[in-house]
Protein backbone atom coordinates (compact mmCIF):
# COMPACT_ATOMS: atom_id res chain seq x y z
CA UNK A 1 0.00 0.00 0.00
CA UNK A 2 1.51 3.30 -1.00
CA UNK A 3 1.36 6.53 0.98
CA UNK A 4 -1.35 8.76 -0.48
CA UNK A 5 -0.65 12.22 -1.79
CA UNK A 6 -4.23 13.26 -1.18
CA UNK A 7 -6.57 12.20 1.61
CA UNK A 8 -10.06 10.87 1.01
CA UNK A 9 -12.39 13.74 1.78
CA UNK A 10 -15.85 12.76 2.86
CA UNK A 11 -18.84 14.82 1.87
CA UNK A 12 -22.28 15.16 3.40
CA UNK A 13 -24.99 15.19 0.83
CA UNK A 14 -28.66 15.76 1.09
CA UNK A 15 -31.38 16.35 -1.44
CA UNK A 16 -34.49 18.38 -1.83
CA UNK A 17 -37.12 17.40 -4.34
CA UNK A 18 -38.53 19.94 -6.71
CA UNK A 19 -42.01 19.41 -8.09
CA UNK A 20 -42.10 20.16 -11.78
CA UNK A 21 -45.12 20.91 -13.90
CA UNK A 22 -44.92 17.69 -15.88
CA UNK A 23 -46.90 14.55 -15.25
CA UNK A 24 -48.04 11.53 -17.22
CA UNK A 25 -51.39 9.78 -17.10
CA UNK A 26 -50.68 7.31 -19.89
CA UNK A 27 -47.81 5.72 -21.74
CA UNK A 28 -47.71 8.35 -24.47
CA UNK A 29 -47.31 11.09 -21.89
CA UNK A 30 -44.56 9.13 -20.17
CA UNK A 31 -42.71 8.92 -23.46
CA UNK A 32 -43.16 12.69 -24.03
CA UNK A 33 -42.07 13.39 -20.47
CA UNK A 34 -38.95 11.26 -20.81
CA UNK A 35 -38.01 13.32 -23.83
CA UNK A 36 -38.72 16.71 -22.30
CA UNK A 37 -37.87 16.39 -18.61
CA UNK A 38 -34.67 17.76 -17.12
CA UNK A 39 -31.57 15.71 -16.38
CA UNK A 40 -32.32 16.37 -12.71
CA UNK A 41 -35.57 14.51 -13.19
CA UNK A 42 -33.94 11.52 -14.90
CA UNK A 43 -31.49 11.50 -12.00
CA UNK A 44 -34.26 11.63 -9.40
CA UNK A 45 -36.21 8.71 -10.84
CA UNK A 46 -33.20 6.47 -11.52
CA UNK A 47 -29.94 7.09 -9.64
CA UNK A 48 -31.56 8.70 -6.65
CA UNK A 49 -34.52 6.35 -6.43
CA UNK A 50 -32.12 3.44 -6.22
CA UNK A 51 -30.65 5.09 -3.12
CA UNK A 52 -33.99 6.15 -1.72
CA UNK A 53 -35.35 2.62 -2.06
CA UNK A 54 -32.09 0.80 -1.39
CA UNK A 55 -33.91 -1.55 0.98
CA UNK A 56 -35.77 -3.05 -1.98
CA UNK A 57 -33.33 -5.65 -3.18
CA UNK A 58 -35.65 -7.61 -5.44
CA UNK A 59 -37.48 -6.35 -8.47
CA UNK A 60 -36.99 -2.63 -8.09
CA UNK A 61 -34.82 -0.79 -10.55
CA UNK A 62 -36.19 2.68 -11.16
CA UNK A 63 -39.42 4.63 -10.73
CA UNK A 64 -40.31 4.67 -14.42
CA UNK A 65 -40.40 0.87 -14.51
CA UNK A 66 -42.24 0.70 -11.20
CA UNK A 67 -44.95 3.07 -12.42
CA UNK A 68 -45.37 1.17 -15.69
CA UNK A 69 -45.81 -2.03 -13.68
CA UNK A 70 -48.07 -0.75 -10.89
CA UNK A 71 -50.07 2.00 -12.59
CA UNK A 72 -50.14 0.86 -16.24
CA UNK A 73 -50.07 -2.87 -15.56
CA UNK A 74 -47.60 -3.43 -18.40
CA UNK A 75 -45.13 -5.99 -17.06
CA UNK A 76 -43.29 -6.45 -20.35
CA UNK A 77 -42.41 -2.78 -20.68
CA UNK A 78 -41.67 -2.58 -16.97
CA UNK A 79 -39.18 -5.39 -17.34
CA UNK A 80 -37.52 -3.67 -20.27
CA UNK A 81 -37.34 -0.34 -18.47
CA UNK A 82 -35.81 -2.09 -15.46
CA UNK A 83 -33.01 -3.52 -17.52
CA UNK A 84 -30.64 -0.55 -17.95
CA UNK A 85 -28.00 -0.80 -15.23
CA UNK A 86 -27.26 2.76 -14.18
CA UNK A 87 -23.64 1.82 -13.42
CA UNK A 88 -23.08 1.47 -17.15
CA UNK A 89 -23.93 5.10 -17.85
CA UNK A 90 -21.52 7.99 -17.71
CA UNK A 91 -24.10 10.64 -18.47
CA UNK A 92 -27.78 11.09 -17.78
CA UNK A 93 -28.43 11.89 -21.40
CA UNK A 94 -27.26 8.40 -22.44
CA UNK A 95 -29.58 6.90 -19.87
CA UNK A 96 -32.46 9.07 -21.05
CA UNK A 97 -31.83 8.02 -24.65
CA UNK A 98 -32.07 4.34 -23.75
CA UNK A 99 -35.18 4.73 -21.58
CA UNK A 100 -36.82 6.75 -24.32
CA UNK A 101 -35.86 4.31 -27.02
CA UNK A 102 -37.32 1.38 -25.03
CA UNK A 103 -40.56 3.26 -24.42
CA UNK A 104 -40.78 4.49 -27.99
CA UNK A 105 -40.26 1.02 -29.40
CA UNK A 106 -42.95 -0.39 -27.12
CA UNK A 107 -45.39 2.37 -28.12
CA UNK A 108 -44.81 1.57 -31.79
CA UNK A 109 -45.30 -2.16 -31.22
CA UNK A 110 -48.39 -1.77 -29.04
CA UNK A 111 -50.08 1.47 -30.18
CA UNK A 112 -53.34 0.42 -28.50
CA UNK A 113 -51.64 0.82 -25.12
CA UNK A 114 -50.33 4.34 -25.67
CA UNK A 115 -53.45 6.20 -24.54
CA UNK A 116 -54.67 3.79 -21.88
CA UNK A 117 -55.28 5.68 -18.66
CA UNK A 118 -53.02 4.81 -15.72
CA UNK A 119 -54.41 4.05 -12.28
CA UNK A 120 -52.52 7.03 -10.92
CA UNK A 121 -50.41 9.76 -12.57
CA UNK A 122 -46.64 9.82 -12.75
CA UNK A 123 -45.14 13.10 -11.58
CA UNK A 124 -41.78 14.12 -12.93
CA UNK A 125 -39.78 15.36 -9.96
CA UNK A 126 -36.28 16.78 -9.79
CA UNK A 127 -33.42 16.39 -7.37
CA UNK A 128 -31.51 19.33 -6.03
CA UNK A 129 -28.29 18.19 -4.45
CA UNK A 130 -26.73 20.05 -1.56
CA UNK A 131 -23.25 18.97 -0.56
CA UNK A 132 -21.13 20.15 2.32
CA UNK A 133 -17.63 18.89 2.99
CA UNK A 134 -17.05 16.95 6.19
CA UNK A 135 -14.12 17.85 8.35
CA UNK A 136 -13.22 14.16 8.24
CA UNK A 137 -10.44 13.05 5.96
CA UNK A 138 -8.66 9.74 5.72
CA UNK A 139 -4.94 9.33 5.05
CA UNK A 140 -4.88 5.60 5.62
CA UNK A 141 -7.16 2.66 4.93
CA UNK A 142 -7.76 2.30 8.69
CA UNK A 143 -8.85 5.93 8.93
CA UNK A 144 -11.01 5.48 5.87
CA UNK A 145 -12.75 2.49 7.42
CA UNK A 146 -13.32 4.39 10.63
CA UNK A 147 -14.91 7.43 8.96
CA UNK A 148 -16.98 5.21 6.70
CA UNK A 149 -18.81 4.00 9.80
CA UNK A 150 -19.97 7.55 10.47
CA UNK A 151 -21.29 8.18 6.99
CA UNK A 152 -25.05 8.25 6.42
CA UNK A 153 -26.63 6.09 3.76
CA UNK A 154 -27.31 9.09 1.56
CA UNK A 155 -23.68 10.20 1.63
CA UNK A 156 -22.47 6.63 1.10
CA UNK A 157 -24.73 6.44 -1.95
CA UNK A 158 -23.30 9.76 -3.16
CA UNK A 159 -19.70 8.55 -2.99
CA UNK A 160 -20.46 5.06 -4.20
CA UNK A 161 -22.99 5.55 -6.96
CA UNK A 162 -23.67 9.18 -7.82
CA UNK A 163 -19.94 9.77 -8.13
CA UNK A 164 -19.98 7.77 -11.35
CA UNK A 165 -21.77 10.65 -13.07
CA UNK A 166 -19.50 13.25 -11.52
CA UNK A 167 -16.34 11.38 -12.42
CA UNK A 168 -17.71 10.31 -15.81
CA UNK A 169 -15.72 7.12 -15.30
CA UNK A 170 -16.99 3.61 -14.72
CA UNK A 171 -15.87 3.76 -11.14
CA UNK A 172 -16.71 5.44 -7.86
CA UNK A 173 -15.04 7.79 -5.37
CA UNK A 174 -13.89 4.96 -3.09
CA UNK A 175 -12.39 2.78 -5.82
CA UNK A 176 -10.71 5.76 -7.42
CA UNK A 177 -8.99 6.67 -4.16
CA UNK A 178 -8.02 3.07 -3.38
CA UNK A 179 -6.39 2.70 -6.79
CA UNK A 180 -4.90 6.13 -7.41
CA UNK A 181 -3.84 7.08 -3.91
CA UNK A 182 -3.20 3.77 -2.14
CA UNK A 183 -2.25 1.70 -5.18
CA UNK A 184 -4.82 -0.95 -4.20
CA UNK A 185 -6.12 -1.94 -7.61
CA UNK A 186 -7.68 -5.22 -6.51
CA UNK A 187 -9.57 -3.58 -3.64
CA UNK A 188 -10.74 -0.91 -6.07
CA UNK A 189 -12.08 -3.54 -8.45
CA UNK A 190 -13.79 -5.55 -5.73
CA UNK A 191 -15.44 -2.40 -4.42
CA UNK A 192 -16.59 -1.35 -7.84
CA UNK A 193 -18.24 -4.73 -8.37
CA UNK A 194 -20.51 -4.53 -5.31
CA UNK A 195 -24.02 -4.81 -6.68
CA UNK A 196 -26.29 -1.99 -5.55
CA UNK A 197 -29.33 -3.64 -7.09
CA UNK A 198 -29.21 -6.74 -4.93
CA UNK A 199 -27.72 -5.19 -1.79
CA UNK A 200 -29.11 -2.62 0.56
CA UNK A 201 -26.75 0.29 1.22
CA UNK A 202 -26.00 -1.30 4.59
CA UNK A 203 -25.28 -4.56 2.79
CA UNK A 204 -23.01 -2.84 0.28
CA UNK A 205 -21.20 -1.11 3.10
CA UNK A 206 -20.78 -4.40 4.98
CA UNK A 207 -19.20 -5.91 1.86
CA UNK A 208 -16.86 -2.95 1.60
CA UNK A 209 -15.84 -3.38 5.26
CA UNK A 210 -15.06 -7.04 4.65
CA UNK A 211 -12.90 -6.22 1.59
CA UNK A 212 -11.05 -3.54 3.56
CA UNK A 213 -10.57 -5.86 6.53
CA UNK A 214 -9.16 -8.54 4.26
CA UNK A 215 -6.79 -5.97 2.76
CA UNK A 216 -5.71 -4.74 6.19
CA UNK A 217 -5.13 -8.30 7.39
CA UNK A 218 -3.03 -9.21 4.36
Amino acid sequence: MKKPEHPFRFVTVSYITRIGNQSATNLGELRDGLEACSDASIFYHTFQSLGRYHFLTEGFSNEFAQWVLAALNSPMLAEQLSAPDIRAYLTLSELRTDLLSITDQYCRTYPEEVGRLAFEPFHFLESIEVTTPHTWEAWTLEEFRNWLQHLSNESFHYHFLVSRLRLALRTNDFSLWFENELGLKHLAQLTNRIDVYTNTLEGARAKLYSFIDRELAA
Binding site: T12, S14, I16, R18, N21, A70, A71, F119, H123, S152
Partner: protein, 415 residues
Protein backbone atom coordinates in the same frame (compact mmCIF):
# COMPACT_ATOMS: atom_id res chain seq x y z
CA UNK B 1 -48.22 34.19 20.90
CA UNK B 2 -44.77 32.62 20.86
CA UNK B 3 -44.44 28.98 21.81
CA UNK B 4 -41.32 28.52 23.89
CA UNK B 5 -38.92 25.62 23.66
CA UNK B 6 -40.07 24.49 27.10
CA UNK B 7 -43.68 24.32 25.94
CA UNK B 8 -42.72 22.33 22.89
CA UNK B 9 -41.91 18.69 23.64
CA UNK B 10 -38.25 18.06 24.24
CA UNK B 11 -36.87 14.73 23.18
CA UNK B 12 -33.15 14.66 22.64
CA UNK B 13 -31.78 13.79 19.23
CA UNK B 14 -29.80 11.00 20.89
CA UNK B 15 -33.09 9.23 21.61
CA UNK B 16 -33.43 8.64 17.85
CA UNK B 17 -30.05 6.91 17.52
CA UNK B 18 -31.38 3.40 18.30
CA UNK B 19 -34.02 3.84 15.60
CA UNK B 20 -32.00 5.55 12.88
CA UNK B 21 -28.42 4.62 13.60
CA UNK B 22 -25.70 6.98 14.76
CA UNK B 23 -24.51 7.95 11.24
CA UNK B 24 -27.88 9.43 10.32
CA UNK B 25 -27.98 11.52 13.49
CA UNK B 26 -24.32 12.51 13.09
CA UNK B 27 -25.07 13.68 9.60
CA UNK B 28 -27.95 15.84 10.78
CA UNK B 29 -25.47 17.47 13.13
CA UNK B 30 -22.96 17.93 10.33
CA UNK B 31 -25.56 19.58 8.12
CA UNK B 32 -26.78 21.77 10.96
CA UNK B 33 -23.26 22.89 11.78
CA UNK B 34 -23.35 24.91 8.57
CA UNK B 35 -26.40 26.72 9.90
CA UNK B 36 -25.28 27.23 13.48
CA UNK B 37 -26.85 30.31 15.05
CA UNK B 38 -29.13 30.98 12.07
CA UNK B 39 -32.57 32.23 13.00
CA UNK B 40 -35.72 30.44 11.88
CA UNK B 41 -39.29 31.50 12.39
CA UNK B 42 -42.21 29.12 12.01
CA UNK B 43 -45.68 30.64 11.93
CA UNK B 44 -48.97 28.76 12.04
CA UNK B 45 -52.46 29.19 13.39
CA UNK B 46 -52.61 26.85 16.37
CA UNK B 47 -50.30 25.76 19.17
CA UNK B 48 -52.26 22.63 20.03
CA UNK B 49 -54.25 20.12 18.07
CA UNK B 50 -53.83 19.27 14.44
CA UNK B 51 -50.95 17.77 12.54
CA UNK B 52 -49.01 21.00 11.97
CA UNK B 53 -48.79 21.85 15.67
CA UNK B 54 -47.82 18.25 16.38
CA UNK B 55 -44.94 18.47 13.92
CA UNK B 56 -43.77 21.90 15.12
CA UNK B 57 -43.85 20.67 18.70
CA UNK B 58 -41.07 18.23 17.75
CA UNK B 59 -39.33 20.23 15.07
CA UNK B 60 -38.57 23.33 17.13
CA UNK B 61 -36.71 21.55 19.98
CA UNK B 62 -34.77 19.43 17.49
CA UNK B 63 -33.66 22.49 15.52
CA UNK B 64 -32.72 24.17 18.78
CA UNK B 65 -30.63 21.19 19.84
CA UNK B 66 -28.92 21.29 16.45
CA UNK B 67 -27.68 24.82 17.09
CA UNK B 68 -30.18 26.87 15.09
CA UNK B 69 -32.22 29.59 16.75
CA UNK B 70 -35.80 28.65 15.93
CA UNK B 71 -38.89 30.49 17.03
CA UNK B 72 -42.51 29.39 16.72
CA UNK B 73 -45.20 32.05 16.51
CA UNK B 74 -48.90 31.34 16.49
CA UNK B 75 -51.25 33.90 14.97
CA UNK B 76 -54.26 35.02 16.94
CA UNK B 77 -57.68 35.99 15.67
CA UNK B 78 -61.32 36.18 16.57
CA UNK B 79 -63.95 33.52 16.03
CA UNK B 80 -64.93 35.24 12.78
CA UNK B 81 -61.38 34.86 11.43
CA UNK B 82 -61.26 31.15 12.16
CA UNK B 83 -64.71 30.66 10.64
CA UNK B 84 -63.42 32.35 7.51
CA UNK B 85 -60.22 30.29 7.39
CA UNK B 86 -62.23 27.10 7.94
CA UNK B 87 -64.41 28.07 4.98
CA UNK B 88 -61.23 28.83 2.98
CA UNK B 89 -59.78 25.48 3.99
CA UNK B 90 -62.82 23.58 2.73
CA UNK B 91 -62.98 25.67 -0.44
CA UNK B 92 -59.30 25.07 -1.20
CA UNK B 93 -59.97 21.36 -0.83
CA UNK B 94 -62.55 21.73 -3.58
CA UNK B 95 -65.58 21.88 -1.29
CA UNK B 96 -68.49 24.32 -1.63
CA UNK B 97 -67.92 27.98 -0.73
CA UNK B 98 -70.44 30.73 -0.11
CA UNK B 99 -68.95 33.92 -1.48
CA UNK B 100 -68.91 36.80 1.04
CA UNK B 101 -66.85 39.92 0.47
CA UNK B 102 -66.36 40.49 4.20
CA UNK B 103 -64.54 37.15 4.44
CA UNK B 104 -61.58 38.64 2.61
CA UNK B 105 -61.70 41.77 4.76
CA UNK B 106 -61.71 39.75 7.99
CA UNK B 107 -58.83 37.63 6.70
CA UNK B 108 -56.73 40.66 5.73
CA UNK B 109 -57.48 42.59 8.92
CA UNK B 110 -56.44 39.67 11.14
CA UNK B 111 -53.27 39.06 9.16
CA UNK B 112 -52.47 42.77 9.40
CA UNK B 113 -53.06 42.74 13.15
CA UNK B 114 -50.66 39.78 13.47
CA UNK B 115 -48.14 41.45 11.16
CA UNK B 116 -48.00 44.38 13.55
CA UNK B 117 -47.95 42.19 16.64
CA UNK B 118 -45.26 39.71 15.63
CA UNK B 119 -41.60 40.31 14.87
CA UNK B 120 -40.26 39.24 11.49
CA UNK B 121 -36.50 39.46 11.73
CA UNK B 122 -35.35 35.88 11.07
CA UNK B 123 -33.18 34.66 8.25
CA UNK B 124 -35.68 31.93 7.41
CA UNK B 125 -39.40 32.40 7.76
CA UNK B 126 -41.74 29.49 7.16
CA UNK B 127 -45.43 30.31 7.03
CA UNK B 128 -47.68 27.27 7.42
CA UNK B 129 -50.94 26.96 5.50
CA UNK B 130 -53.32 29.61 4.17
CA UNK B 131 -54.37 31.21 7.48
CA UNK B 132 -51.23 33.36 7.92
CA UNK B 133 -50.30 33.48 4.19
CA UNK B 134 -50.78 37.26 3.96
CA UNK B 135 -48.01 37.80 6.52
CA UNK B 136 -45.71 37.97 3.52
CA UNK B 137 -46.67 41.67 3.67
CA UNK B 138 -44.20 41.87 6.56
CA UNK B 139 -41.38 41.35 4.10
CA UNK B 140 -40.62 44.90 3.24
CA UNK B 141 -37.17 44.33 1.79
CA UNK B 142 -35.90 41.31 -0.12
CA UNK B 143 -34.11 40.12 2.98
CA UNK B 144 -34.30 36.68 4.47
CA UNK B 145 -35.87 33.64 2.87
CA UNK B 146 -39.60 33.20 3.00
CA UNK B 147 -41.25 29.84 2.39
CA UNK B 148 -44.90 28.90 2.30
CA UNK B 149 -45.54 25.40 3.62
CA UNK B 150 -48.91 24.23 2.37
CA UNK B 151 -50.17 21.15 4.21
CA UNK B 152 -53.45 20.90 2.31
CA UNK B 153 -54.44 19.55 -1.08
CA UNK B 154 -54.50 22.48 -3.50
CA UNK B 155 -55.07 20.46 -6.65
CA UNK B 156 -58.70 21.50 -7.17
CA UNK B 157 -59.25 24.72 -5.24
CA UNK B 158 -62.26 26.99 -5.36
CA UNK B 159 -61.31 29.61 -7.95
CA UNK B 160 -62.44 32.63 -5.93
CA UNK B 161 -60.58 31.73 -2.75
CA UNK B 162 -57.45 30.64 -4.59
CA UNK B 163 -57.62 33.78 -6.73
CA UNK B 164 -57.59 35.82 -3.53
CA UNK B 165 -54.67 33.94 -1.91
CA UNK B 166 -52.56 33.45 -5.03
CA UNK B 167 -50.97 36.95 -5.13
CA UNK B 168 -49.66 36.41 -1.60
CA UNK B 169 -48.27 32.96 -2.42
CA UNK B 170 -46.48 34.29 -5.50
CA UNK B 171 -44.40 36.59 -3.30
CA UNK B 172 -42.73 33.77 -1.38
CA UNK B 173 -39.36 32.38 -2.41
CA UNK B 174 -40.76 28.89 -2.63
CA UNK B 175 -43.65 26.66 -1.64
CA UNK B 176 -43.58 23.25 -0.01
CA UNK B 177 -46.27 20.66 -0.64
CA UNK B 178 -46.97 17.28 0.97
CA UNK B 179 -47.40 15.48 -2.34
CA UNK B 180 -46.92 16.31 -6.04
CA UNK B 181 -50.66 15.59 -6.34
CA UNK B 182 -51.45 18.51 -4.06
CA UNK B 183 -49.33 21.14 -5.85
CA UNK B 184 -50.37 23.71 -8.42
CA UNK B 185 -48.57 25.39 -11.27
CA UNK B 186 -46.91 28.36 -9.63
CA UNK B 187 -44.31 30.84 -10.81
CA UNK B 188 -42.23 30.12 -7.69
CA UNK B 189 -40.31 26.89 -7.10
CA UNK B 190 -42.27 24.12 -5.46
CA UNK B 191 -40.73 21.47 -3.29
CA UNK B 192 -41.86 18.15 -1.99
CA UNK B 193 -42.03 17.86 1.77
CA UNK B 194 -43.68 14.69 2.95
CA UNK B 195 -45.54 14.80 6.23
CA UNK B 196 -43.95 12.76 8.95
CA UNK B 197 -44.55 10.82 12.10
CA UNK B 198 -42.55 10.84 15.29
CA UNK B 199 -41.47 7.31 16.14
CA UNK B 200 -41.19 8.30 19.80
CA UNK B 201 -44.70 9.71 20.11
CA UNK B 202 -47.37 7.88 22.09
CA UNK B 203 -49.02 6.74 18.86
CA UNK B 204 -45.87 5.15 17.46
CA UNK B 205 -43.55 4.25 20.28
CA UNK B 206 -42.81 0.55 20.84
CA UNK B 207 -45.28 -1.05 23.28
CA UNK B 208 -44.88 -3.89 25.72
CA UNK B 209 -46.81 -7.01 24.61
CA UNK B 210 -48.80 -6.81 27.83
CA UNK B 211 -50.08 -3.34 26.89
CA UNK B 212 -51.14 -4.59 23.45
CA UNK B 213 -52.83 -7.59 24.98
CA UNK B 214 -54.68 -5.47 27.54
CA UNK B 215 -56.06 -3.15 24.84
CA UNK B 216 -57.08 -5.98 22.53
CA UNK B 217 -58.82 -7.87 25.35
CA UNK B 218 -60.56 -4.70 26.51
CA UNK B 219 -62.19 -4.44 23.09
CA UNK B 220 -63.07 -8.15 22.95
CA UNK B 221 -60.74 -8.93 20.05
CA UNK B 222 -59.25 -12.42 19.78
CA UNK B 223 -55.50 -12.06 19.29
CA UNK B 224 -55.14 -15.73 18.30
CA UNK B 225 -57.01 -15.17 15.02
CA UNK B 226 -56.11 -12.86 12.11
CA UNK B 227 -57.08 -9.22 12.65
CA UNK B 228 -57.75 -6.90 9.70
CA UNK B 229 -57.82 -3.26 10.77
CA UNK B 230 -58.64 0.11 9.32
CA UNK B 231 -57.95 3.15 11.50
CA UNK B 232 -59.94 6.15 10.32
CA UNK B 233 -62.81 8.33 11.35
CA UNK B 234 -66.26 7.22 10.22
CA UNK B 235 -66.34 9.19 7.02
CA UNK B 236 -67.66 8.06 3.62
CA UNK B 237 -64.40 9.11 1.97
CA UNK B 238 -62.65 6.45 4.06
CA UNK B 239 -65.09 3.88 2.64
CA UNK B 240 -65.74 1.92 5.86
CA UNK B 241 -68.60 0.09 4.16
CA UNK B 242 -66.24 -0.94 1.38
CA UNK B 243 -63.91 -2.34 4.04
CA UNK B 244 -66.75 -4.35 5.61
CA UNK B 245 -67.68 -5.75 2.18
CA UNK B 246 -64.07 -6.66 1.42
CA UNK B 247 -63.89 -8.42 4.80
CA UNK B 248 -67.13 -10.29 4.02
CA UNK B 249 -65.61 -11.51 0.75
CA UNK B 250 -62.51 -12.68 2.61
CA UNK B 251 -64.61 -14.41 5.27
CA UNK B 252 -66.16 -16.70 2.67
CA UNK B 253 -62.84 -18.51 2.56
CA UNK B 254 -60.81 -17.53 5.59
CA UNK B 255 -61.27 -16.98 9.29
CA UNK B 256 -60.52 -13.43 10.41
CA UNK B 257 -61.84 -10.46 12.36
CA UNK B 258 -62.34 -6.87 11.27
CA UNK B 259 -61.55 -3.83 13.39
CA UNK B 260 -62.76 -0.42 12.26
CA UNK B 261 -61.47 2.08 14.78
CA UNK B 262 -61.79 5.81 14.51
CA UNK B 263 -62.36 9.11 16.19
CA UNK B 264 -65.40 9.99 18.17
CA UNK B 265 -68.44 10.72 16.04
CA UNK B 266 -70.43 12.35 18.83
CA UNK B 267 -69.84 15.89 17.57
CA UNK B 268 -70.13 15.00 13.90
CA UNK B 269 -73.69 14.35 12.75
CA UNK B 270 -72.56 12.83 9.46
CA UNK B 271 -70.07 10.63 11.28
CA UNK B 272 -72.93 9.22 13.36
CA UNK B 273 -74.93 8.49 10.21
CA UNK B 274 -71.96 6.74 8.58
CA UNK B 275 -71.31 4.73 11.73
CA UNK B 276 -74.96 3.62 11.71
CA UNK B 277 -74.67 2.61 8.04
CA UNK B 278 -71.58 0.58 8.85
CA UNK B 279 -73.39 -1.11 11.76
CA UNK B 280 -76.18 -2.10 9.41
CA UNK B 281 -73.69 -3.47 6.90
CA UNK B 282 -71.92 -5.41 9.67
CA UNK B 283 -75.19 -7.26 10.42
CA UNK B 284 -74.31 -8.06 14.04
CA UNK B 285 -71.27 -10.08 12.97
CA UNK B 286 -69.46 -10.67 16.29
CA UNK B 287 -66.12 -10.61 14.46
CA UNK B 288 -66.60 -7.05 13.28
CA UNK B 289 -65.45 -4.59 15.94
CA UNK B 290 -66.57 -1.00 15.41
CA UNK B 291 -64.61 1.12 17.86
CA UNK B 292 -65.61 4.72 18.29
CA UNK B 293 -62.59 6.02 20.16
CA UNK B 294 -62.16 9.36 21.95
CA UNK B 295 -59.40 11.73 20.73
CA UNK B 296 -57.03 10.76 23.57
CA UNK B 297 -56.69 7.17 22.35
CA UNK B 298 -53.15 7.29 20.96
CA UNK B 299 -52.00 4.25 22.95
CA UNK B 300 -55.11 2.28 21.99
CA UNK B 301 -54.58 3.07 18.30
CA UNK B 302 -50.92 2.15 18.61
CA UNK B 303 -51.84 -1.17 20.27
CA UNK B 304 -54.56 -2.00 17.74
CA UNK B 305 -52.17 -1.35 14.86
CA UNK B 306 -49.50 -3.48 16.45
CA UNK B 307 -51.95 -6.33 17.17
CA UNK B 308 -53.21 -6.37 13.58
CA UNK B 309 -52.30 -8.96 10.99
CA UNK B 310 -53.04 -6.61 8.07
CA UNK B 311 -53.82 -2.90 7.99
CA UNK B 312 -56.25 -1.63 5.38
CA UNK B 313 -56.74 1.94 4.18
CA UNK B 314 -59.43 1.70 1.56
CA UNK B 315 -60.06 5.42 1.20
CA UNK B 316 -61.86 6.87 -1.81
CA UNK B 317 -59.97 10.16 -1.30
CA UNK B 318 -57.10 10.75 1.03
CA UNK B 319 -54.70 13.42 2.16
CA UNK B 320 -51.26 12.02 2.71
CA UNK B 321 -52.61 9.17 4.82
CA UNK B 322 -50.47 9.22 7.95
CA UNK B 323 -52.34 6.18 9.31
CA UNK B 324 -50.62 4.25 6.52
CA UNK B 325 -47.26 5.67 7.60
CA UNK B 326 -47.97 4.59 11.16
CA UNK B 327 -48.87 1.07 10.05
CA UNK B 328 -45.76 0.74 7.89
CA UNK B 329 -43.59 1.96 10.74
CA UNK B 330 -45.04 -0.89 12.83
CA UNK B 331 -43.94 -3.36 10.12
CA UNK B 332 -47.50 -4.19 9.16
CA UNK B 333 -48.46 -5.37 5.67
CA UNK B 334 -50.74 -2.72 4.20
CA UNK B 335 -53.50 -3.03 1.62
CA UNK B 336 -54.47 0.47 0.54
CA UNK B 337 -56.20 2.43 -2.19
CA UNK B 338 -54.00 4.20 -4.71
CA UNK B 339 -55.27 7.67 -3.81
CA UNK B 340 -53.75 10.89 -2.43
CA UNK B 341 -50.37 10.40 -0.80
CA UNK B 342 -50.74 6.63 -0.41
CA UNK B 343 -48.83 5.57 -3.58
CA UNK B 344 -45.81 7.51 -2.27
CA UNK B 345 -45.83 5.23 0.76
CA UNK B 346 -47.11 1.97 -0.62
CA UNK B 347 -44.80 0.94 -3.42
CA UNK B 348 -46.90 -1.79 -4.95
CA UNK B 349 -45.60 -5.28 -4.15
CA UNK B 350 -42.62 -3.80 -2.29
CA UNK B 351 -43.92 -1.96 0.76
CA UNK B 352 -47.56 -2.99 0.52
CA UNK B 353 -50.30 -3.66 -1.98
CA UNK B 354 -52.29 -1.01 -3.83
CA UNK B 355 -55.90 -1.70 -4.72
CA UNK B 356 -58.61 0.00 -6.73
CA UNK B 357 -61.79 -1.83 -5.72
CA UNK B 358 -63.51 -3.76 -2.94
CA UNK B 359 -62.87 -7.02 -4.76
CA UNK B 360 -59.22 -6.09 -5.23
CA UNK B 361 -58.87 -5.32 -1.53
CA UNK B 362 -60.48 -8.67 -0.63
CA UNK B 363 -58.21 -10.55 -3.01
CA UNK B 364 -55.05 -8.91 -1.67
CA UNK B 365 -56.08 -9.49 1.96
CA UNK B 366 -56.60 -13.18 1.21
CA UNK B 367 -53.32 -13.29 -0.65
CA UNK B 368 -51.45 -11.85 2.34
CA UNK B 369 -53.24 -14.07 4.85
CA UNK B 370 -52.17 -17.05 2.76
CA UNK B 371 -48.58 -15.82 2.40
CA UNK B 372 -47.37 -14.73 5.82
CA UNK B 373 -43.74 -14.63 4.74
CA UNK B 374 -44.57 -12.17 1.96
CA UNK B 375 -46.68 -10.16 4.41
CA UNK B 376 -43.73 -10.01 6.77
CA UNK B 377 -41.38 -8.91 4.01
CA UNK B 378 -43.73 -6.13 2.88
CA UNK B 379 -44.00 -4.98 6.48
CA UNK B 380 -40.26 -4.92 6.97
CA UNK B 381 -39.64 -3.04 3.74
CA UNK B 382 -42.43 -0.64 4.63
CA UNK B 383 -40.72 0.06 7.93
CA UNK B 384 -37.47 0.86 6.12
CA UNK B 385 -39.32 3.13 3.71
CA UNK B 386 -40.74 5.13 6.61
CA UNK B 387 -37.38 5.19 8.38
CA UNK B 388 -35.76 6.71 5.31
CA UNK B 389 -38.50 9.08 4.21
CA UNK B 390 -41.31 9.84 6.64
CA UNK B 391 -39.88 10.43 10.11
CA UNK B 392 -39.59 13.73 11.96
CA UNK B 393 -35.80 13.57 11.61
CA UNK B 394 -36.14 13.45 7.81
CA UNK B 395 -38.35 16.49 8.07
CA UNK B 396 -35.65 18.32 10.03
CA UNK B 397 -33.07 17.29 7.44
CA UNK B 398 -35.27 18.57 4.62
CA UNK B 399 -35.61 21.98 6.24
CA UNK B 400 -31.87 22.15 6.86
CA UNK B 401 -31.23 21.26 3.24
CA UNK B 402 -33.63 23.90 1.95
CA UNK B 403 -32.06 26.51 4.21
CA UNK B 404 -28.56 25.55 3.04
CA UNK B 405 -29.65 25.59 -0.56
CA UNK B 406 -31.20 29.02 -0.18
CA UNK B 407 -28.00 30.36 1.37
CA UNK B 408 -26.16 29.18 -1.71
CA UNK B 409 -28.52 31.40 -3.73
CA UNK B 410 -27.89 34.84 -2.26
CA UNK B 411 -30.40 36.49 -4.57
CA UNK B 412 -33.01 34.89 -2.37
CA UNK B 413 -34.74 32.81 -5.01
CA UNK B 414 -34.71 29.09 -4.40
CA UNK B 415 -34.07 27.88 -7.89
Amino acid sequence: MTVTKQEAHSISLDAYVPLLGAPEVDELRALAAQLSGRTVQMVNSTAMGGGVAEILNRLIPLMHELGLRPRWDVITGGEDFFEVTKAFHNALHGGPYVSRRENFEIFLATNEMNRQRLQFDCEFTVIHDPQPAALIEARTKQEGHWLWRCHIDLSKPNAEVWGFLRPFVYRYDGALFSSPEFARQLPIPQYLSYPCIDPLSEKNVELEPSVIQEVVERFGIDQSRPIITQISRFDRLKDPIGVVRAYQLVRRYMDCQLVLAGGSASDDPEGEIVLEEVRREAKDDPDIHLLNLPPWSATEINALQRASTIIVQKSLREGFGLTVTEALWKKKPVVASAVGGIPAQVIHKHTGLLVHSIEGAAYQIRYLLSNPSLAQKLGEQGHEHVRENFLITTNVKRYLTIFLHSLQHPQGMLT
